[in-house]
């Protein structure tokens, strides 16, 4: 009876697992199949198996028809710059909020918490106007000059997303639970607040830095609404608007799947590599939030 129950549980899990895994596997497998094979395999288990004539033609076509590599490079640049700057900037503010006494601290903390409920969607439209008015500072003919607007650049996709109230809050919560004795011991040892941050708090906070890095990476790699508004030209376009435009061209499904697989690759790689960390950090973030 017990064994039967277990078997039933596994069968049920497998069924649900199939439902959750099918689209992703189907996407990856189809990216290696010619158009007619995709349709031929669609209604059987073959749809999610790497069987039949596998080919890289779809990928070749995608690279030919679309500047995927440029978009890919842009996404890598935007994501890594934002995540690195963000880890630094957000943890610094969280440090002053959680471990230093200063007037106004409580109000700033309340403001950070309040900002957490504003979704990005609520501010993209006015943000667009704001950045269209901001000039970039460039180097031209031997002097600093103000050039055009921020639109169509990489920085317009980076700077607005560096400071993030949710990540500040995650850092704040983690730092808050570190005993104050460490700071005081370091203070007696002659460390400045920045040295306390650098030598004591940061090395002790590996888990929260990993959590925030992962969440920020996900957020940035999958950016869509902002780049479709702020970036019209191809030069600074990241992958997600890229695939949407490619999809709009009504090319073959195989190529679309190849494109989709290609841009999903980095996330999947990070996900599978840090799978445990990934899952626990997201769960932790949710509970604490």
């Amino acid at each position: 009876m017990k064994r039967l129950q277990k078997l039933g549980a596994y069968l049920f899990l497998l069924l649900i697992g199939y439902v959750f895994l099918f689209p992703l596997l189907f996407m990856i497998m189809s990216s290696f199949k010619p158009e007619q094979v995709i349709f031929a395999d669609l209604y059987s288990i073959r749809a999610i198996l790497p069987v039949g004539d596998l080919t890289l033609d779809n990928y070749r076509q995608v690279f030919e028809k679309s500047d995927v590599l440029l978009y890919f490079r842009n996404s890598i640049l935007i994501t890594s710059a934002t995540v690195i700057l963000g880890l630094f900037v957000n943890s610094l503010l969280a440090f002053t909020l959680s471990r230093m006494r200063w007037s106004g601290r409580k109000y700033i903390l309340a403001a950070v918490v309040a900002l957490m409920i504003i979704p990005i969607e609520a501010i993209v439209v006015p943000l667009l106007l704001l950045v269209s008015k901001l000039p970039t500072i460039g180097w031209e003919q031997g002097g600093l000059v103000l050039m055009g607007s921020w639109l169509n650049s990489l920085e317009v996709q980076i700077l607005p997303f560096v400071a993030n109230s949710f990540f500040i809050f995650l850092f704040y919560q983690f730092f808050r639970d570190i005993p104050k004795d460490f700071d005081e011991a370091a203070e007696l040892d002659g460390a400045t607040p920045f040295q306390i941050y650098r030598h004591i708090i940061v090395p002790m906070s590996g888990p929260v830095f990993a959590t925030v890095a992962i969440l920020h990476f996900l957020l940035m790699w999958n950016q869509y609404i902002w780049p479709i508004m702020a970036v019209q030209g191809e030069d600074a376009r990241p992958v997600m608007p890229g695939i949407q435009i490619f999809f709009g061209r009504q090319t073959s499904w195989g190529e679309i799947m190849a494109y989709a697989s290609f841009v999903t690759l980095p996330v999947l790689a990070v996900f599978l590599a840090f799978q445990k960390k990934f899952v626990s950090s997201l769960a932790g973030a949710g509970i604490k939030g």
Binding site: I16, G17, F26, A122, L130, Y197, Q244, A283, G286, G289
Partner: protein, 376 residues
Amino acid sequence: MNANTSVNSSDTLTVSSGRPAETRRPPRKRYVFLMSAPALLGLFMFMVLPFLMALGMSFTDQRLLSPNATEWVGLRNYDRLLNISWLVQEPVSDADNHLKRTAEGELVYPRLRSVLRKNPEYKEFKEFTHWSFGDKRVVLLAKDPSFIQSIINTLLFVILVVPIQCGTALGLALLINQKLRGIFLFRTVFFSPVVTSIVVVSIVWSFLYHKDLGLFNHYLNAMSFGLIGPVDWLGDPDWAMPSIVLMSAWQAAGVQMLIFLAGLQGISGDLYEAAELDGAGPWGKFVNVTLPGLKNTTIFVVISTTIQAFGLFTQVDVMTRGGPQGSTSTVMYHAVTKGFREQDIAYGSAISVIFFLAILAIALLQKRFFDKREDA
């Protein structure tokens, strides 16, 4: 202990007494300022300022790129968005007081457009929808009918997706909370859609929803022995939004599943044992231990899912572009269409402000609702 070792007193770290006592390192304030400024500047520049700008601009006629000077227009944008009116029309009758009918036998009413144009009271209004009461026809008017439609669509999405997504998440969490070998593998599987971009997911599901080739119609056909014909999931105004709901719940449930899982694991095992000693069965334990134990988790999950759902944009933009017949246009989609694609930033800002206020209201309302239930 070694008694003959003692530390040389000339090594002393401290300042010699010659130094004035006021000597202090750079004041703490400077550190606070330098360390908090970057993030605060970022939050202010890109969150607070845009929001304040949205508030300000929603009272103007600001356009994204326009040679004309911006002017204050007061509440005109909000009036355009939210003003609703109605009128009652009598059917047209001929000279003998007989009601006119079309060839199909339907009543004929005066042309709405000319009625609206003639009456200054209805200036700028357009038909949103109409109902018939006997011979009379009630016409609901709005200055921007597609915005009203978008609000209704958004609410529909929220009402459908929140229970489906949270329910799915709870179910999955209960599934993977079982003590089975290899269960973590399923956790990874259930979570994998979350890390996949919603853009990619939307594209793949567009294929699965395809009217002729899609998997959904294939299974539907097979299971109903060919009785239920192919449904144009994304092309049918009645089905487009539910289709997006289903996909969205599928994509995002993994996050809530993990949160529920953490909640489940936070419930003390003692409680289950106590309930078992009290003679509770599996269902009794679920109702009396699990559900109460998940209360706070549920509040968090429901609020965050709701807020997220209100921002629905990407799926619509990729899969249906607001169509068919405006049936999937959402508040956010409308804001982007007006504010960005039609460059009417002021109007888009007004929508953003309304959107923000709605989010705030929902968050506060849900919190109060759950708090009350706790008191009861």
